[in-house]
Symmetry: C2
């Protein structure tokens, strides 16, 4: 298998460069990529250091590296463009057409895409994250009225990471409620949930996958037995049907995909954009 | 202030399109952007629906929308390129040069950048997220030996969101320890922390900013008084110096920036890439 080194060069965190790079690299399945982030390249001096590192890697690999750049400053881009690597320059490709369309010059300042550009948006994300954590696992039930959505499902069906992701990425207030043995015995959703029936969204999962996940957590327990997983999933799905709770099977989906689908199906407004 | 509508069109979650779009839009400070995500555009039918929506918005706004596309399939890209909007096509701009460099054709399959492309990487992120949550606020102290890094600081200095972000984005195992009154009285770090001194990283914050944050949480309490904030921050900073804990002032930084700087200064390896 070929192995290529990929550099993400940014004047700030490098998150945008990583995201766009990763998105492209997943299109090439038979190549192994070594990924190196070079963040905070904010001076000519640092840009020259980055170039030396890129060139040294190219020499060692015997193949030229690929360089994803989200550098904004013209002088820094010129320096990095002079490396031996293949430069894929995000701002060069998109900033000019955008300037033309918007009829203004960009500020050409160092990227603040992942900085505190907007104190309100930033606070919204932090508040939403704290909300997701405090309203985790049925905690702070009184808070359900503040929730944009309440994810319901059995233990380890993906509720908590999805809530945290929606909070951090979009400032969405997401609570979650883990279905318990008691709920299954009563065969109904607890009253405090039924009061918010319009906010409920059910996560379900294939019992065999659930077993794998639980097995890692508490090996060879009743909790991680296939029989228990099957029982809980069946009961949960029956409950979702009975109370008309929209559901999603999370078995084959990542957190980002679950989040996007919940947001779309529930028609939730993103409070902030990443 | 001018107002423009921006569409993020994707065959999957739209996270990449949102990230790249946002990164460019922050360069234009005097324009108000309305941002609309159109995810899961995975058929010609849906692409045509998207085009109708883009065109209707353009007609209503009286200004043509900007369309950030991360569509991979040629047929879908052709449909969306036919809208009245300005199309900024991520794959068209970068996939070709990358194919040339790597000497192979891309799979041209629908993006799985934010899907479960790699079950191990995915599991690492989920495990790290669960770790961050269970090792939050000094919980599960026995787990410190599994941590890649332990963030130390006063309440509301940014520890928890940073830990969760590093876990979710990079699969990094990050624990946190909130400094308590008891620690300040003893004027030392607890033994269980000192056993892991190589993993400690201190977060500090301007007392006036801390007060604002705490004020939102518990208004007009001792906890949110400026005197208390000043006392705690001074004591924490003295402790960091005394035990040679590297520190970062988080006052002006976003979670992404704090995370990137912690990773860089501690030399932590990213387990996965976003």
């Amino acid at each position: 298998m070929t192995r290529r080194t990929i550099f993400f060069v940014s004047d700030q965190t490098g998150v945008t460069a990583e995201t766009m790079g990763h998105s492209l690299l997943t299109q090439f399945e038979d190549i192994e990529f070594r990924q190196v982030t070079l963040p905070f390249i904010s001076s000519v001096d640092k840009a020259e250091q980055a170039v030396r590192r890129i060139n040294a890697t190219g020499a060692a690999d015997g193949l030229r590296p690929v360089v994803f750049s989200t550098l904004v400053r013209e002088d820094l881009r010129t320096v990095v463009a002079g490396s031996d690597g293949l430069m894929l320059d995000f701002f060069a490709a998109f900033l000019r057409p955008l300037e033309g369309e918007l009829g203004v010059k960009s500020s050409m300042r160092e990227g603040r895409a992942h900085g505190i550009t907007n104190r309100n948006a930033y606070t919204a994300r932090i508040e939403a994250t704290n909300f997701a954590l405090s309203a985790d696992d049925g905690g702070a039930r009184a808070e359900y009225r503040r929730a944009d959505v309440i994810l319901v499902g059995v233990s380890r069906s993906g509720k908590t990471p999805t809530c945290v992701y929606m909070a951090m990425q979009y400032g969405i207030f997401a609570a979650n409620y883990p279905l318990t043995e008691e709920d299954f015995e009563n065969n109904r959703l607890p009253t405090m949930l039924r009061e918010h029936s319009g906010k409920l969204f059910g996560l379900t999962i294939a019992p065999t996958r659930l077993q794998q996940i639980r097995q890692e957590r508490r090996p060879d327990s009743r909790y991680s037995s296939l029989a228990q997983c099957e029982f809980e999933v069946l009961r949960a799905e029956a409950m979702f049907r009975r109370f008309s709770v929209p559901t999603l099977d999370t078995t084959e989906y990542s957190i980002e995909e679950i989040a996007s689908r919940v947001i779309e199906r529930m028609g939730i407004e993103r409070r902030v954009h990443p």
